[in-house]
């Protein structure tokens, strides 16, 4: 099966947040009903970060310029890495990679251990308190299986998001970056082509990666790598102890206390006496 990808072009995005709404509607994820329940973020951004009920968030980064305020918008959601750290650490196999590259979290299998939240270098999976499971974008695999686009892509009025074969999306993205550079946006970059083994959510960063809050050259957390390394080492350690104790037991077969009287000299004393 061909690999698919979502392409987000920040230069076309108007940050209308329609994608946020549509994601919640399609995936039946609630929003708080009380007024001002989310703490004010200081910008038009809805909330500070993704949460258990929010799989996609439009981020607003503002900058004062001579031409007034300029915004660097970002689509914050799962990048669907080719080498997903979250999948590696999931103890029950609730996270899987579909043939088209989608990294799917099956909440019916999730046990809420939060290992995925710790492993993701982007801090994307979030714990859903009232359900006791992790939650993240599934790239609307149910829609995609029926030949449709993910809900966020479908609803984008500015066509800042497109969905299709990854190769095609990469070609479009590269052409767009070249276009932006030609227009004078020197720092324009493509994100997701090679990062984390190649991601299935590509990002055209109009003002460069840093301006959009993207991590340059993301890597699995060192701590998570250490934990992964510690597991085989732990196995070797435990095997060595079990082996050592087993050998000790075998050498002790036939042991009789009577053979060593209470007042027998300790072994090294015996040597000294010799």
């Amino acid at each position: 099966m061909t690999e698919s990808a979502i392409l987000y072009d920040s230069s076309k995005c108007s940050a209308c947040k329609g994608c946020q709404i549509q994601c919640k509607q399609w995936n039946m994820l609630p929003s708080p009903l009380a007024k001002n329940e989310y703490e004010f973020t200081g910008s038009y951004q809805s909330m500070a970060d993704l949460n258990g009920d929010t799989r996609i968030l439009m981020e607003f980064r503002e900058k004062d310029t001579d031409n007034g305020i300029e915004w660097a918008f970002s689509r914050r959601a799962c990048f669907h890495c080719s080498e997903p750290a979250c999948m590696e650490v999931c103890p029950v196999g609730a996270i899987s990679q579909l043939e088209n590259g989608t990294v799917k979290l099956d909440s019916t299998k999730c046990i809420g251990c939060k290992y995925c939240t710790a492993a993701c270098p982007f801090d994307v999976p979030k714990y859903r308190e009232n359900f006791g499971v992790s939650n993240k974008c599934t790239m609307c695999d149910d829609r995609v299986a029926q030949g449709r686009e993910p809900a966020c892509v479908k609803t984008c009025p500015a066509h800042a998001m497109t969905f299709g074969p990854r190769d095609e999306m990469l070609s479009i993205a590269k052409a767009r970056v070249a276009e932006l550079k030609a227009e004078g946006f020197d720092k324009a970059e493509l994100y997701g082509e090679t990062e984390m083994g190649g991601m299935h959510s590509l990002f055209v960063a109009k003002y460069g990666l840093e301006a959009h809050g993207l991590i340059r050259d993301p890597k699995k957390s060192d701590i998570i790598s250490l934990i992964q390394l510690a597991k085989p080492l732990a196995g070797i350690g435990v095997a060595a102890v079990v082996g050592g104790l087993g050998l000790s037991f075998l050498t002790g077969i036939g042991y009789k206390r009577d053979a060593l009287p209470d007042d027998a000299p300790t072994s090294d004393v015996a040597k000294e006496e010799e």
Binding site: V241, G244, F249, G254
Partner: protein
Amino acid sequence: MTVTRYIQRHSLLKRVIHGIHTVATLILIASGAVIFIPALGRSVGFDFVQAVRVSHRVFAVVFITAPLVGLITAPKGFVHIVKNLFAPWDDDDKKFMKMFVKYMFSSKTTHMPKQHEVKSGQRLADGALIFSALLIAVTGVLLWAGKFLSPELFRVSLMLHDVAFVLVLILMGAHIYLGAGIFQPYRGLIRLMFGNGRVSEEEARYHWGHWADEELKSGEHVIVE
């Protein structure tokens, strides 16, 4: 009629708390292994892992509460344990440690020096076990309260919890091998914690010679049958 003298080594409270803690620890090790080894978790299936995860939290509470109950109900006993842990080492203690590896692999021909109430090797092992237990308990509580932690602190807690798990696993293996009397010279010692807590004069002299001398001289904990 043959008269045997026994020394009461462990109180009923200590044995009960040790028993409860042992059960909690073994269940926590088994349930932790299901999460620690992803292949194991995946092989037993979601429902089982979910049940195990709930049990992990229940027994984690027991694991933390049981020693605290001991500390509150018998503070003097707790102080006694700590004192023994940090007791100064004499020549026999040092000699014991030097000979310990040889003893483990040639127990038939090795006679160990006299020991005080807690053998020097056991003091080290107990210290390591207590340290690991504290580490696993603190990091476990932090992981449970994960939503209040930063992702970085959560990751560090996770790593330390795993490190402590491996330490507990290895130390418990050795503790059970010796304490349960699988090691031939220690045979029968299991009743000290899982029986009436008494040790015969002969056993006491063999394992803790200095302590046996003191106890038999004072007679405070001596039982004659």
